[in-house]
Symmetry: D2
Subunit: 338 residues, 4 copies
Amino acid sequence: MIITLKKTAPEEEVQKLIKRFENMDLQVTMIYGANYNVFGLVGDTSKVDEKNISANPIVTNVQRVAQPYKLANRMFHPEDTIVDVDGIKIGGKNIVLIAGPCSVEGEDQIVRIAKEVKEAGANMLRGGAYKPRTSPYAFQGLGTEGVLDLVKARDLTGLPIVSELMSVDKLDEFVKNVDIIQIGARNMQNFDLLKAVGRTKKPVLLKRGLCNTIEEWIMAAEYIMAEGNPNVIFCERGIRTFETYTRNTLDLAVIPIIKERTHLPIIIDPSHAAGDYKLIESLSLAAIAAGADGLIIEVHDEPENAWSDGAQSLKPSKFNDLVAKGKAIAHVIGRSLG
Amino acid sequence: MIITLKKTAPEEEVQKLIKRFENMDLQVTMIYGANYNVFGLVGDTSKVDEKNISANPIVTNVQRVAQPYKLANRMFHPEDTIVDVDGIKIGGKNIVLIAGPCSVEGEDQIVRIAKEVKEAGANMLRGGAYKPRTSPYAFQGLGTEGVLDLVKARDLTGLPIVSELMSVDKLDEFVKNVDIIQIGARNMQNFDLLKAVGRTKKPVLLKRGLCNTIEEWIMAAEYIMAEGNPNVIFCERGIRTFETYTRNTLDLAVIPIIKERTHLPIIIDPSHAAGDYKLIESLSLAAIAAGADGLIIEVHDEPENAWSDGAQSLKPSKFNDLVAKGKAIAHVIGRSLG
Amino acid sequence: MIITLKKTAPEEEVQKLIKRFENMDLQVTMIYGANYNVFGLVGDTSKVDEKNISANPIVTNVQRVAQPYKLANRMFHPEDTIVDVDGIKIGGKNIVLIAGPCSVEGEDQIVRIAKEVKEAGANMLRGGAYKPRTSPYAFQGLGTEGVLDLVKARDLTGLPIVSELMSVDKLDEFVKNVDIIQIGARNMQNFDLLKAVGRTKKPVLLKRGLCNTIEEWIMAAEYIMAEGNPNVIFCERGIRTFETYTRNTLDLAVIPIIKERTHLPIIIDPSHAAGDYKLIESLSLAAIAAGADGLIIEVHDEPENAWSDGAQSLKPSKFNDLVAKGKAIAHVIGRSLG
Amino acid sequence: MIITLKKTAPEEEVQKLIKRFENMDLQVTMIYGANYNVFGLVGDTSKVDEKNISANPIVTNVQRVAQPYKLANRMFHPEDTIVDVDGIKIGGKNIVLIAGPCSVEGEDQIVRIAKEVKEAGANMLRGGAYKPRTSPYAFQGLGTEGVLDLVKARDLTGLPIVSELMSVDKLDEFVKNVDIIQIGARNMQNFDLLKAVGRTKKPVLLKRGLCNTIEEWIMAAEYIMAEGNPNVIFCERGIRTFETYTRNTLDLAVIPIIKERTHLPIIIDPSHAAGDYKLIESLSLAAIAAGADGLIIEVHDEPENAWSDGAQSLKPSKFNDLVAKGKAIAHVIGRSLG
């Protein structure tokens, strides 16, 4: 940790600060500059709170050198983590393909779509039973009934299921029934929910918050891992920017960054990022080329009658086309899709 | 609701869409332009999902005319709502002054600071017992002990207490003990939590999410009100932008906007917006001048030893200065502070 | 154009507004809703200024239906525009590959790097002679000498050259010497500069501004085209967001959007978006997969001694690897690279 | 400057880097940590390019300690700079009040409005003769005629005039005729234009770019000052964020920040930030309370017929009200307005 001090700081105050750090078993190296002096702190600085150090009027800046995350940090875990979901590996050579409707609308609908996406090459099924909606007057999901419909679809197709958990009180239902628990963008810093899924061993799909930095996102994974669950899969779904043409801005640079900084797999959700079915194919192929470990795509057989997110849902025929092109790109980079 | 259609849309598809709207008891007016045709829909469009309409390939754009919120909407409730907290009115002539430390650190600390802020003119006490922290390794709050320490401080000073609720399972504890339940920025779209506080009658301080639009924020209030609780107080605490000099960017334009669009009071939190004690006074005075109904400010007697947020906490003496200036400005705009 | 009026608007004011539009040869259709009335305007609304209409106190909202751009609009020009640069076509089947150093540092350097990028497969050379630098104390480019060095490199390698024009008074120098005039991100709305290059026939590489919307970007192209120059090539180079891990956030969704909305080619600059050489390969391959018409990449043989932008420059060997992978991906989507 | 190195960096590479810095007359202090080593560089690091240092594969991070600006830096110039404009002082006890229409629309209009704003208390007149417009089809300003109309208005009212310069070739016209040269937000990093106004002695009103950081803004001032012109006045006019309710988000925290970091005055433009006349009064009063050295406000006697920016223009009567309230607030903080 690097602390910049005013040149005018009274020596007494500087000594007090040095003593404080020495009491924390940190070694202090002082660098004297023309306009500022600088402390370099060596040792376990994870307990030092930058904001409190900044509160000291003699301090002008505090900068961490080491990353604040440990369990997710590739530095201490150089090999890739591969998450196993009922035999399907996320994070290896294969690129996982998750598809399905935004919302489960009933058993018929989810089974029908599950069969279609399976035939097109998907190896997992997505579907929302509990839906975070901006408006209290919008459809809020079928709840438990929706979860059971997903289970039916899995029974009939063999596709593992991914669904979003919105509150701790449904955790048991999810542990019992779903294969991957999704934490949505709006809950990325719902720390009680993160700790709760951390106490299970279920794979967790951790979506990036709409305006969360990469470091905050990794720290959210760290919350889950610190409770004992190592099965975290990152999912980029677009961030909020000034551009309103798309629903969000898909940040594909996170793929090489997450892979450099952590050992965890990362998949891409082009549907929520784009908010427009016409953009999904381009963004999906881009994600594969950039090195993503998977895609999660909204597919609906009647988007114009979907109960939610119709505008960004692909029809099965378009999804088919996308998969064919995606397979070809995966192949030339030495991987396979779906 | 205004729907723009491609000029090339097949008449059959257009008729299908017209029929669909007529079945929803909506009247359709068609406007024929050179390059586009436009539908104007009249009637209760609150059930029409824009995203599904957009999914129709003949549609190029969907635009709402009416606001999606009703209970919070000033159009249907022209008088200001004044929230009563143990006799202190939020939303009237008086500007409420809430102050206290970021975290409760123990009974002595919270009682000591409560007395100091009361003497300086505060009329409510803030303090976090459950703390949302980016790192799982950072101090997470004293929990129930912290809540009880706040109660002690209230008993001794008479100041009503405001504290943040992070999960539904602590709701009873908060209903029993605190006077205003704070919903933090990270939980602004934790819809289960919003519904839960909506089922109580406790005043709710609803912070704006780091990257939530004003409309999303009002919709979050609507979630609480739709469950039966009309006592919502908005709190702006800065939004996330590209500027990193400050922790967040305080958006004071929300004060006249919230007052035009809704009938609910709005207070300002300059501490979290700035992240730097040196900026608090300027932003607080600005908020008063702009018409805020209150301020919530972090005050700590030893910021450099605070367990959290030291960098943005004011010492009591500086808080005193701020209050004196704030009172003078409040006075010239016909209000009073604290 | 759709104009929303307050239901309470006095009839007299409404009639005044109707007359005003009729005087502009616009037809007005009125839609009566419960809480708002709506005008639909049909005719040439390009002269109507939304902001002035909004200034009328009876108006609550103004919304355009038609795009404000004409010459760039695919609706009026359905075929792809292919820009010809000395025989190299931008916008067709081939994906153009532009590479070279951030700054021209002298004849030896630019000739040496030109030969290396040519050998690796590049078909154009980039290099800055006039450099927009945040600091007045940083290297500002070699100026005319740099332009002449580029010309030497072209003479020796046959690669057409791309360089950034920063002010109108160097226009003649650029028209005479360079093959594509680059308008940098910071000058995307330097309208005098846009008009000036619009009065030439030189191909213009129009970078997106750091915080400009897609519509503003297209309008900047419209400025150039309105002066008579149809040879505009869009170049996405990342937008500014809250995320600071990367220099900017690359927005690849613009590829399908620009292609849907306009008939102009679009290329991608991963170097400025990422600001980090380690991310360039992933983003370049993603851009190809997403349908980009070209790439512009910074290559330097000694990045750690580069006079500018070393951190984001690829060494020739890494550029070689990237090109090999890029060719494979281009091939499977039916295109060729370089 | 602080440079973080990989622990695994080969000693030979580390020594090469040390030698490089020593050759630049910098002293290097090495701090050995568990996972990283750190260099502290002491001496004149203004010539060290962070980006090139980052290009070295053994380096993981580079951080400046000292600010990159010198002439604008309060550290080297502790007293406030007061800019004198024909006897009106900007930066002292008085808060300057600049008002007028967005565009000059003719002599009658500008003279009429000049008289009205003068009577209301303004002490300078604003008006655009050259207008940066998003669309090439929108009104581009009256040009030289507009400048001469402003001169007439000054002759008749005595109000000094502020107008925007968009290109270097009009510099002489502006030096001769206007009292403050405005550099607009879109040109904040048009470095040739900054250098050109830096070679005059005219006061320069430097607007913050739509997405420029505070540091970039100060560096733009440094460009002007480095050419010899010390008369720079900062002007905040809102930044671009995800929020679209307002045209931009006004960032009032810049007032105390600019005053802490630099010795230059800062004024606020609420009109462009808000984009909506209904918000101007709140934001103006907030700016005064926060310590601004001036306001620049758009006033038009017929906003609904204004040739540009009608929606954000105040009518003279509303401007009058605002000035009365502003004077009262200025008074209680020991300043005077207008």
